[in-house]
């Protein structure tokens, strides 16, 4: 077996030096009858070529996003990632190292995390950021729990523009963790009166920016209303590229920003692994979940980095920890940081403008199709259309024509009235004039 360096003779010699006759003598503690002789129902070892063949056959049964005019977003976005990113994250020293518990031989990972934290804080307009979370949705869930700890209240108010999966994650954590949630109705146009729903028990208001439907609304009045009642504002961002162009949540009074960082450096991967961004104000840092890298000095007075403030964490605090989180999303955070470094401020801003311009062009073209109405007034690279048909059927018909036209809202809000004709459509820098023309033509045919 190509991955197992021990030879039969090695094994014999090792057993002898341990002083046991056979390997199963080391499994003596296993209760009688529970030690298996073999795994009868699974195939035997295979060479690289055979494994590759088998998996390629499976992979061929999917249609890759890159092979079609592609306009799907809704929390995961297809962007171009420079080749250098994937090369660098496959460096053995990054790929096959563990959590930097021994800082003297982990300065590479630690300095990357320090750079990552700084980039995330800058991008979100916040004071501090952690070393990443699993993804945007779990970051959102943790943000709500953190707001509960800070305010000592137990009720979260979720705006109607929050990604339905994020809402489900928060609701699940709340239900089983013993807190409560008020979820507002789907709000494609971003017109709901959130402020009116905040009361003295509200720990936080969770608002997505831009919303699940693509809508952009000013967070400042919501932050002011929340703060006036002693609640926090949690801003959720699922498209990090938007912050290359939009006023950051930190400038509008957000107390915690929970974001999905997949857009920068990371591929679609059918939903994961992604990278959660988590940023807050300095005064809340000790209530933050997850790992933090911090700067310090070594015994010779040279600058270096360590994991710090770990007294918040489960391996020290156990049942009193701020969160049960242990692993972060290190390699995806590395990809984020490298891509962001390659972009730089100038590149990120230009990338954001290209996305916005492409989305505007698409919205204008789709608006001219009979039976289509663009319902999002202000947006970045994603907007919602209403079609004169069932949205799910429309998307399926488009897929048959080889166009990935967006996400029917009803897939994420099944059984809810008023959304059956809505489609969330995204455009990024990958889309060409031809892609848009193909979409328009296909949509004209299916509507």
């Amino acid at each position: 077996m190509r991955y197992l360096p021990l030879e039969p003779a090695d094994r014999q010699a090792m057993l002898a030096s341990i002083g046991v006759p056979e390997i199963d003598a080391l499994f003596d503690a296993v209760p009688p009858g529970k030690l298996m002789k073999e795994l009868p129902n699974l195939p035997r070892a295979k060479g690289e070529l055979e494994v590759e063949r088998e998996l390629m056959r499976l992979a061929a049964r999917s249609v890759p996003a890159g092979s079609a005019p592609f306009f799907i977003g809704a929390g995961a976005y297809r962007h171009h990632v420079p080749a250098a990113v994937d090369h660098l994250i496959q460096r053995s020293e990054f790929l096959t190292s563990y959590t930097p518990y021994q800082p003297e031989i982990s300065q590479g990972t630690l300095q990357v995390l320090f750079e990552f934290q700084t980039q995330v804080a800058m991008l979100t307009g916040m004071e501090v950021a952690n070393a990443s979370m699993y993804d945007g949705s779990t970051a959102c869930g943790e943000a709500v729990l953190m707001a509960h700890r800070i305010t000592r209240r137990r009720k979260a108010l979720l705006a109607g523009g929050l990604h339905p999966h994020y809402r489900s994650v928060v609701e699940t954590l709340a239900h089983w963790g013993g807190s409560s949630v008020v979820s507002l109705e789907p709000d494609p146009a971003g017109t709901e009166d959130i402020a009116a729903r905040i009361d003295a028990d509200t720990s936080c208001v969770v608002v997505q920016y831009p919303s699940f439907y693509g809508t952009i609304r000013d967070l400042k009045p919501i932050a002011d209303a929340a703060h006036a009642k002693g609640a926090l504002l949690v801003a959720v961002v699922t498209e990090a590229v938007a912050l290359g162009m939009l006023k950051p949540p930190g400038e509008m009074g957000a107390d915690i920003v929970a974001a999905e960082g997949q857009s920068i450096g990371n591929g679609l991967n059918f939903g994961g692994p992604y990278v959660g961004l988590f940023a807050t104000r300095e005064k809340f840092v000790r209530q933050m979940p997850g790992r933090l890298a911090g700067e310090t000095l070594d015994a010779e007075g040279r600058r270096g980095y360590v994991l710090t403030l770990s007294t918040r964490e489960q391996h020290i605090r156990r049942e009193k920890a701020t969160s049960n989180i242990c692993t972060n999303s290190g390699l995806c955070a590395l990809a984020f940081t490298i891509h962001m470094t390659l972009l730089g401020e100038a590149g990120l801003r230009r990338l954001a403008r290209i996305n916005h311009v492409n989305a505007m062009a698409l919205a204008d073209q789709l608006a001219k199709v009979r039976g289509v109405e663009v319902v999002t007034p202000a947006y970045f690279n994603e907007f919602t259309i209403r079609v004169a048909a069932d949205a799910q059927n429309t998307i399926d018909a488009l897929a048959k024509k080889g166009v990935m036209g967006g996400v029917p809202v009803s897939r994420l809000e099944p059984g809810r009235s008023g959304v059956r004709d809505l489609i969330v459509v995204a455009a990024t820098e990958i889309n060409t004039d031809e892609d848009r023309a193909a979409y328009v033509e296909a949509l004209q045919e299916v509507l």
Binding site: V30, T172, W176
Partner: protein
Amino acid sequence: MAMNTQGRPTTPGASMLDGEVRTFTGNRGLDHEEPLIFERGSLEKTGVDLPEPKAVKPRLGGLERTGAIGLPGLTEPEAMRHYVRLSRKNYAIDSGLYPLGSCTMKHNPRLNEKMARVPGFGDVHPLQPQQTVQGAIALMQMLSGYLLELTGMKAVALSPKAGAHGELCGMIAIKAAHEAAGSKRSVVLVPESAHGTNPATAAFMGYGVRSIPAREDGTVAVEVVRAALGPDVAAIMLTNPNTCGLFEPEVVAIAKAVHEAGAYFYCDGANFNAIVGKVRPGDLGVDAMHINLHKTFSTPHGGGGPGSGPVVFSEALARFAPVPFGIRDGERFRLVEDIGEAERRGLKPFGRLTAFHGQMGMFVRALTYMLSHGADGMRQASEDAVLSANYVRAGLRDLFTQPFGDQPCMHEVLFDDRFLQDTGVTTLDFAKAMIDEGYHPMTVYFPLVVHGAMLIEPTESESKDSLDLFIATLRHLAEAARRGDVERFKQAPRLAPRRRLDETRAAREPKLRWQPDPARRQAAE
């Protein structure tokens, strides 16, 4: 011009061995000092050439960013050099033995990486129409099949993002099952040696934690569990093999006692690598267990994630598994994403733990590992992992001290610090001295129940020569400590990119991000 008859010197002069090496650049040969990108890049520079889009009036609702973000950019050659130099300051499995107990730092096959990047798996969107992602869903189903076969369990939730997330998944399912049965229970039993995530998870769920002491031999006695059980106990969270590296010999009796008390058995599967193909948790009476794909099934640790923590369930808990889950619908595969639909199928999912469907990239890598190893290879891998740990034990048992006596261990071997008593060398010093010898230290000070713990997990990825040198090195260090050669330990590491770092300072005045130099900022304003 006269020929240099001496030629190039081939032995180092005495002066080069003297004292500390100081260089003009601060670099030390291959080890380069590398500033932060914020001290090097500029706001104008970029390593990505993008066309300038046409100027339009934006539709951002008047919320355009005004000031600078502050993000520096680098061209590609500069970025490559920066991150390559940083990478060289990391220890990695590919460069050396990485015996971190409880972390299973085994070889990460590169075929896994290649397969995860195949467009049919890597370049598919989680919300593409399901008929266009049949291959991806089929792969998830295939992985589920393997996990169920290897564990002898009835259902699997693939979506948890890491081990601790999997614990949450398993414990919520247990709470849901109690709730469905109308039983109100408030306590979870957790052995003292458990991972910190276990009590943290239980506490999040609102459970009180009742600690279970281990007996003299490091395992949990069924009588102690029985005494702690009562109508208030919802579950036991037991790691098996446990964090002391031992298989719990009374695990079947413990499971029976737990079930008789109306509670469930959550097994922390962090140490599954010891028993794959040898013992099925389902046969032991486990009700829920998470599997760390990044440990047992070789998906890379990536400097601390991403992980992946699928949870397998017994018959009793299967119907409470969260959405989404895959089903076979004739010739087609389908993901059930909606709780309502699951309920119409007679299930009772407790909710949703994450957006989308879980760590697909890790599923591809884990399944690639399983197909490569096959039933025979996975079983052999576990046997080799256990054999290697015991070989290290045998090679060190006369010099090192074992907290629970000399008995066979599973895939990791635990020592305490009694062998360092009165030497002036601590476990931490010992670990740092290993760094100078070119090794990543073992897990230290965990489990908490053992004084100065050293938990060594060599994994199945080491050759016998590699293990022999490792054993010889640890013996050499132990003898040096006993000889009173304390300085080498106190000064260690001397040969790493950094000497010991001041963690107290880091925590006292936290500097968690780069800040522009205030003087420079003022000058710019």
